[in-house]
Symmetry: C2
């Protein structure tokens, strides 16, 4: 892969550090100045790439989702799994990303904090959650065809339930300060609720 | 009931307005000054009741949960329902509170934004989520005894899954800007996933 031009590199660094700040301090708790200070980048550079803090957050949502989806798709494809094992692989990978009980999902965090007050961010969130749901629906449909995932409910409904349950478990992980809630979801939700009986 | 003393009334008003501000603007986006300005209360009064913004948020968590639990318990008890119908009544009542697709759960919102950075709030959240889980576990145990809720999983595990799925659906509601995700959870989670087959 060609080395990114310097400009692209700065933009990516801003997105990476912004993601980290948003996950730790939330939208309102994140100052553009803090992001710039961490990178030693002047204010003008920021506004060259991002029209506003709101647009910056919307691009971070896409940056986060693109990276995650790419890694998850690669992992599933490498193993050649389909249906339930593929679904569990995806969520087990998510569990490993929170193994110290910290972090979180920027989609859930920004949904909670600013989806109602920022239409720009709400639209970015909706797009990425729909993308995610499409990916999971395909895996669940495979499982329904193979016969290892229940087929009394539509695949897209099950995909939404899995997302809901996962996001709730991330909140519980933060409340308990330990990763067990996310681990429990993978075992209970997938083995006892989505598996074909 | 005796009319509350003026002091108690001011404290309750601060909690009510604080809850509204936190739900709309998040923890970092809420200024104590905004709360005081809305009520015309001087700064000194605030610090008479609350040592800090963090303690204020922790008391709002308890205030929100006490009020909600009281209303839900009264509704279930009035109808004399047990098991699955009682569980669905609880969550259908929650759905009606979000029928315009806005609002949210302050437990989920603060879990996401500050559970990792405020130990005072994390402990308040943990206490209320545990209370909630105990209430739901009792209802689910009744359902397992009656036979209308599945009994292949422990009641407390099912209670946690119901909470997870609900909280995830509230995030999705905010992302979609409509209440359907919360309505879907009540039908799918309870009718197809928790019901005894």
């Amino acid at each position: 892969m060609a080395r990114p031009r310097k400009n692209e590199h700065i933009k990516e660094q801003l997105l990476e550090v912004g993601l980290d700040e948003l996950l730790t301090n939330g939208y309102h708790g994140t100052g553009i100045k803090d992001v710039l200070d961490r990178l030693g980048v002047p204010k003008g550079s920021f506004y060259h790439y991002f029209r506003s803090k709101e647009v910056f957050a919307a691009e971070i949502i896409k940056f986060f989702a693109d990276d995650l989806n790419h890694r998850l798709a690669a992992s599933v494809s490498n193993k050649g799994e389909l249906g339930l094992p593929a679904l569990k692989r995806v969520f087990r990978l998510l569990v490993t990303e929170h193994k110290d009980g910290s972090g979180g999902c920027i989609l859930g965090a920004l949904a909670s904090e600013i989806a109602e007050t920022s239409e720009v961010c709400r639209q970015a969130l909706q797009k990425e959650v729909e993308n995610w749901n499409r990916m999971m629906t395909i895996i669940i449909q495979q499982g329904q065809t193979i016969g290892d995932i229940r087929n009394d409910l539509d695949a897209d409904v099950l995909a939404r339930m899995a997302w809901n349950c996962w996001e709730g478990s991330v909140l519980r992980m933060k409340i308990e300060g330990r990763p067990e809630p996310t681990e429990e979801v993978v075992e209970v939700m997938f083995d006892a609720m989505l598996k074909a009986q």
